[in-house]
Symmetry: C2
Subunit: 327 residues, 2 copies
DNA sequence: GACTTGTCTGCACACGTGTGCATATAGCGC
DNA sequence: GCGCTATATGCACACGTGTGCAGACAAGTC
C-alpha cells in the first residue's frame, strides 16, 4: 500500500457531502437521494474508490470470507468445479479463501487461516477430505457445507449430483445395449460418493435382472483403473461401469494393452464428463454432472436464500448421460 | 460471526497481562519475555485465538492480499501451477485472492476486487491474459508480476521457465535420434511464451543444420493439435515439436487416426509434463517445467527477498527433458 | 396548527489490532 | 552515585468504515 488509497472521506469532500452519506451510497438499503447517490458513485468511479473490505468487515462484524478446503487440483473435474464455485461466489459478493491440505491432511493450518479471516462457513468438496477433517471443522465451531458429497450421518447440509440416478443412467445404457456381464470399478472405499454411485449401478442392473459379475475396489485414479483391467478381462466382462472418468481412462488403456477392443469386446462408461472424455483417443460415454446448476444451488445455500435447501438436508441435482463411442 | 470471536484482550485477561503484550507476542520482532510469550501462545491456542486479519490489515495499512488473475482451470498445467502458487503463498504469509476473467476478459471486476482488499501486487500467469489486461493493471497502480510468461517490453519483473533452453532440449532429442524432417506446432500467435519456445526449437534444429519443414499456428489446445495432424502428414514430417502437452495429445490422436505410428513413423515431443503425459495411451516424451522451483523463486520475488530477481528483470529457471516413448 | 410518516443527512461512537511513547528494571562501566 | 544500553510492559492513539441517533425537511391527515 505504498500509494495512499482513496477513502470515503476523499470522495465526500470531492462531492461536497459527509462521509456517512458516501458510506450509505454503497449500501443499497440505505436512504440516499438518488441524484446524490449517482453523483457519489460517478465520483468514486473517477477517483478509483472502493470501500476498504478490512474496515468494512471489522466494523460490521460480518466477514464475507468463506473457507474452502481442497486437496489438490490434479483431477480435472475438481478443477472445473472449483473454478465455477469461486466464480459464482465472487458474483454473490462472497470471498472464497482456499486452503489446500497437504499430503499429511493437516487441517490445523487451514482452520487458523479461516479464523484469522473470521470465516463462519467452510466448504468441503473433495472426496479426499475424510471424516477427521470434517470433525475438526465442526469442533472448531465452523458451519460445514458439502459440495458434491454428503454426510452419511446428515450432520451438515449438502448439494450433490444425484449419483444414484446417474449410476442408473449408466447401467441402463449398457443393459439396453444387450450387455449382461457387467463389472463395476468402485471409487474410494467407504466414501459416500462411491457408495451412492454404486447403489445406482446396482439398482440399474437389478432392473434388468442382472448382478455385476465383478466389483473392484478403486480410488478414482488412472492407475487404479489400469490395474483393474486384468481382473476385468479375467471375469470375461462385456461392460465396465467406472466410478469416474479418470479411472475409466486407465481402464481403457489397460484393456487395450490386453488386446481388447472398445466397444466391440467391452463397453466402458465413465462419470463426470471431464474435457478429455471428448478426446478421440477415448471418446468416452459418461455421466455428465451439472456443475453450473450444482454450484448455483450451493451458493444459494451459503447465502441462506434457498429455502428448499434449508428444508432438505441434501439437495440432489440430476445428471444426464453423454453418449459417445465407448458404450 | 454468530459465535463471538476470541480477541486479544480475552487472552490478555486470561494470562494476566496487557493486550499490547499479546499483540507483540504474535509479532516475532517485538520484545516479549520468552516465558511470557510462551504462556500467551499456549493460552491463545487453548482459547482458539487468532489475530483478526481485518483489524491487523486496517491498522498496519499493509494488506497481505495479492491478486491473481486467472483465465480458467481447464489446462492441467495451469491448475498445477496455481495449486503450487497458492500453497507457497499461504506458507509465506500471503493471502492469494483469485479473480477469474470470464469469456469477455472483463478485468474491471478483478481490479475493483483487488482494490477492496488493498492489494498492492497482482500476479498474471495465464498466456490467455493479453496486453490489454496488463495495461489495465498497470494503469490502476498495481504492481504486476508475471509467472511463466514475460513482458516483451520488460515493464514488469517475471519468473519463467527457460523456454528457449527447454525448446533446445526438445529439438536435440529428435535430431539426435536422426529425425531430419521436423515440424513445429506453435502456441498462441504473438504470445511471449510461444515465441520464446519456438526460438529454442529453431536454435536446437539449427545446431544440427536443420530448418523446420513446417510451422503451424496453434493455440495450445487439443483441438488445434488434432487439426494440424493432416498438414503434418502432408509435409511428410518425421517429428513434431509441440507447444504444450495438450496440443501434443491432439496431434497424436490426429496422426493415429491417419494411420501413422508413433514413434516409428513420427516422433512427438510435448511441453509441460502434465500428469496425463505419463498415461500409457500417450506416454509422451516432454519437457518438464520446474513448477516448485519457479514458484519458490516467484514468491521470493513477491516478498522482495530475492535480490537476484530485483537485479534481473526476468528470472529463468531451467527445464529438463522427460524421456518416454514418443520420441 | 398539531401530529405522523417518509425521506434524507450529519455527528459520533465502535470494531480489534499495531505501535510510538513513556516508563521500569536489570546489567554494566565509570 | 550517574549514565548508557538492552529488555520488557502498559497506555493511548489511529486505521476506514457501518450505523444508531438526532434532527431537518416535505407531504399528508386529522
Amino acid at each position: 500500500m505504498v500509494a495512499r488509497m482513496v477513502k470515503a472521506s476523499d470522495v465526500a469532500r470531492a462531492v461536497g457531502t459527509s462521509r456517512s452519506t458516501v458510506s450509505r451510497a454503497f449500501n443499497p438499503d440505505a436512504y440516499v437521494k438518488p441524484e446524490l447517490r449517482m453523483q457519489i458513485m460517478t465520483e468514486a468511479e473517477r477517483m478509483g474508490y472502493q470501500p476498504n473490505a478490512f474496515a468494512r468487515a471489522l466494523i460490521s462484524r460480518r466477514s464475507p470470507v468463506v473457507g474452502i478446503v481442497l486437496h489438490d487440483f490434479s483431477n480435472p473435474f475438481h478443477a472445473e468445479l472449483y473454478g465455477e464455485l469461486t466464480r459464482q461466489m465472487h458474483a454473490a459478493g462472497l470471498t472464497p479463501l482456499t486452503a489446500q491440505l497437504g499430503h499429511d491432511r493437516n487441517v490445523a493450518d487451514a482452520l487458523s487461516l479461516f479464523r484469522k479471516y473470521q470465516a463462519e462457513k467452510v466448504v468441503l468438496t473433495s472426496f479426499a477430505i475424510n471424516e477427521d477433517v470434517m470433525d475438526a471443522c465442526l469442533n472448531s465451531g465452523l458451519e460445514v457445507l458439502l459440495l458434491n458429497r454428503a454426510d452419511s450421518e446428515q450432520r451438515t447440509p449438502a448439494v450433490c449430483a444425484d449419483l444414484t440416478q446417474g449410476g442408473h443412467l449408466a447401467a441402463e445404457r449398457v443393459t439396453r445395449a444387450g450387455r449382461s456381464r457387467v463389472a463395476i470399478l468402485d471409487g474410494l472405499a467407504g466414501s459416500w460418493t462411491a457408495d451412492t454411485r454404486a447403489q445406482g449401478y446396482l439398482q440399474g442392473l437389478a432392473a434388468h435382472g442382472l448382478d455385476p459379475v465383478l466389483r473392484i475396489a478403486g480410488d478414482y485414479s488412472y492407475d487404479a483403473g489400469k490395474a483393474a483391467a486384468e481382473a476385468v478381462r479375467g471375469a470375461r466382462a462385456d461392460a465396465v461401469l467406472c466410478a469416474n472418468d479418470l479411472c475409466a481412462f486407465g481402464m481403457m488403456d489397460g484393456l487395450r494393452e490386453l488386446g481388447l477392443s472398445i466397444p466391440d469386446d467391452i463397453a466402458i462408461v465413465g462419470f463426470d464428463d471431464v474435457p478429455m472424455a471428448a478426446w478421440s483417443a477415448y471418446s468416452l460415454t459418461t455421466v455428465r454432472l451439472p456443475v453450473m446448476k450444482m454450484v448455483s444451488r450451493f451458493v444459494e445455500m451459503i447465502l441462506g436464500t434457498d429455502e428448499e435447501a434449508a428444508a432438505a438436508e441434501v439437495v440432489l441435482v440430476p445428471c444426464r448421460l453423454v453418449e459417445r463411442d465407448t458404450a
